[in-house]
Amino acid sequence: MTVESTAARKPRRSSGTKRAAGAAGARKTAAATAQPHDAEPQLVQLLTPEGERVEVADNPDIAEFAPFVADITTDDLRDLYRDMVLTRRFDGEATALQRQGELGLWASLLGQEAAQIGSGRALRDDDYVFPTYREHGVAWCRGVDPTNLLGMFRGVNHGGWDPKINNFHLYTIVIGSQTLHATGYAMGVAKDGADSAVIAYFGDGASSQGDVAEAFTFSAVYNSPVVFFCQNNQWAISEPTERQMRVPLYQRAQGFGFPGVRVDGNDVLACLAVTRWALERARRGEGPTLVEAFTYRMGAHTTSDDPTKYRRDEETAAWEAKDPILRLKAHLLATDGADEAFFEQLEVESETLGKRVREVVRAMPDPDTMAIFENVYADGHALVDEERAQFAAYLASFEGGE
């Protein structure tokens, strides 16, 4: 962000701008100055990019959150590491399968593993998740078979799993819509007197949608047990966060009347702690929280996107140094938390996962043509019945005929 935002702070007008009519063109509008975006933003961090634990004594700001991972053992750390490695492997496999033509599209989570595994592992089984379309790591934590995520990207279905089995809702592609579903679901949880919580995932771009503002409003006034987990990966396709907001995202919650926290999204431990903290608030009946996981999308927006058109290699390289997986690995190595055998065994496990994903995807059958007419209504519909019969007769006319 740093390079981009300094450039944007001094609005320069190109020759084209001069052609803009008179007075309006003279004032900055489209090229509005960006808020000086924190080069090193304040965020909750428990593990530095070098893999060192941050102690409360060094940073009193984390005192509120650190206790939420006080119980985390070395075994747990290895599990979190394993989750991130396997998720990355799955994601990489899916990207490769798209390149081979097995998937129509893929939205990679590369770089966002810590945000997803940290928050995903904070959840209890009876909590309910509303993802967008990039939450493969959260799905992993929920126990959704990762190959089930690929059907919609291959084009054989629009979902591919039963949301009720793992309390993991279907992916939502229309930006921001699911934040309202999460809020409504949370309103229901509260009405039922249950102590489970709800979490909604969305991106920094999504925060511009009216639906998201409405979700904030509803959850605030009904004090709903929902955590809004925004993965600020710095970009909404080609648009940097400066094109979406003028104040740091997490601060927005305050205006709606609930707390907002910015967490280092590349620090799995901090993501776990902050999400547990927010979920606890929800369970205690203290209402919604906005968590902004400050992270970075290392790859393209989707396999259809070309990030070289809009972002700089230097920026991506700077974020590479904050890699969530290398960070935890450094920590495990430095503390003798894992030995070579662990990493080797994980590599074998990754290979097995990759192989299984490839095999399942290649064997995924195309749906039956008549599936077009299935499940349009729960109670049936005369028009659908009529069209189904007509189309079946039409298809049958080819058989035997010519």
């Binding site: 007008r13 190109s14 020759s15 084209g16 701008t17 001069k18 052609r19 803009a20 009519a21 309006a24 063109g25 509008t29 489209a30 090229a31 129509g104 599209l105 059907g151 919609m152 990207f153 291959r154 084009g155 054989v156 279905n157 629009h158 592609i173 229309v174 930006i175 921001g176 771009g205 999504a206 511009s208 949608q209 009216g210 639906d211 909404a236 396709i237 080609s238 648009e239 094109r243 979406q244 259809s304 996107d305 070309d306 058109k309 809009y310 195309d366 749906p367 043509t369 599936a371 077009i372 007419f373 349009v376 519909h381 028009l383 659908v384 069209e387 189309f391 039409y394 006319s397 080819f398």
Partner: protein, 326 residues
């Protein structure tokens, strides 16, 4: 020199460039339209040449995009808005239907709403959900809006400029799977009227009426039918609101048979309106009921089924045969 061979995408890009050059009040707005040039590159290079004041990357908020375009129009600008994909226009539907469409009438004609909303629409590109839909009827049904869709490069070039010149709000549907089709564009020609239909192929036995992506399918069907000795006329409607019923009537009076083809669901679709009107106008000329070929009353299916879902050559020819069998 005046005639160039362009893809539809390039023709649209040239058309926007021309509009920006001609009128300083024209603005381009939308998600990713700047540096990226839009996800389909229709606005490629425009921000570079006209600046961020004219080619505006907006926050990710469709209601915001259309709502502010209305405000800019009130202030004398002529916004050309890009909605990234068909399925994402609905957050803006409220602004379009309750505000944009009615401003002129409510102000007793004092306020004009020269807003163009460009929407890449319809299927055939193997995309995921919400990227392949044909919602044109939902807009054509709304009084106050005009709705058009070009099927070829020349129309893409000219119709977009005409839409921008129009003082009415125009919903401009771009057939995304045809973006890369090439055609001749005469940039010095006198274009057809924005809302007139065009006979794309002459024939005597039956008329096929279509717009946007289905015109090409109908032309292929006509060519295939010709091999079987059937003479099929193809009318490119170009505009779905208003519809050029006079032009269509003239064709049907010649051929006496009509099949309407579109990707959108048939039920209560543009074809339904055409069937009703043409039956009223041409009752004594018709040798067969007006038939419709189109989408089913079902959500747009996953990509692996879209070839079955979308009207193709066979389904169009089947309808031609059924009509001729009466």
């Amino acid at each position: 020199m005046a005639v160039q061979k362009l893809t539809i995408a390039k023709a649209l890009n040239d058309s926007l460039r021309k509009a920006l050059e001609t009128d300083p009040k024209v603005l381009i707005m939308g998600e990713d339209v700047g540096k990226l040039g839009g996800v389909f590159r229709i606005t490629d290079g425009l921000q570079k040449d006209f600046g961020e004041e004219r080619v505006i990357d907006t926050p990710l908020a469709e209601s915001g995009i259309v709502g502010t375009a209305i405000g800019l129009a009130l202030r004398g600008y002529r916004p050309v808005v890009e909605i990234q994909f068909d399925g994402f226009v609905f957050p803006a539907y409220d602004q379009i239907v309750t505000q944009l469409a009615k401003m002129h009438a409510r102000s007793l004609g004092k306020i004009k709403m020269p807003v163009v909303i460009r929407i890449p629409y319809a299927g055939g590109i193997g995309a995921v959900e919400h990227h392949s839909e044909s919602p044109e009827t939902l807009f054509a049904h709304v009084p106050g809006l005009k709705v058009v869709s070009p099927s070829n490069a020349s129309d893409a070039y000219w119709m977009l400029q005409q839409a921008i010149l129009s003082d009415d709000p125009v919903i401009f549907f771009e057939p995304k799977r045809r973006y890369w089709d090439k055609g001749e564009v005469d940039v010095e020609a006198i274009p057809d009227a924005l809302h007139g239909s065009r006979v794309a192929r002459e024939g005597t036995d039956i008329t096929l009426a279509a717009y946007g992506p289905m015109v090409k399918v109908c032309l292929e069907a006509a060519a295939a039918a010709a091999e079987e000795g059937k003479s099929v006329e193809v009318v490119d409607l170009r505009s779905m609101s208003p519809i050029d019923f006079d032009g269509l009537q003239a064709s049907v009076e010649r051929t006496r048979r009509l099949v309407v083809v579109h990707e959108a669901p048939v039920f209560l679709g543009v074809g339904s309106e055409i069937a009703a009107r043409i039956t009223e106008r041409c009752f004594y000329h018709l040798e067969a009921p007006v038939l419709r070929v189109g989408g089913f009353h079902a959500p747009y299916p996953p990509a692996r089924l879209e070839d079955e879902y979308l009207p193709g050559l066979d389904r169009v020819l089947d309808a031609v045969d059924r009509s001729l069998a009466y």
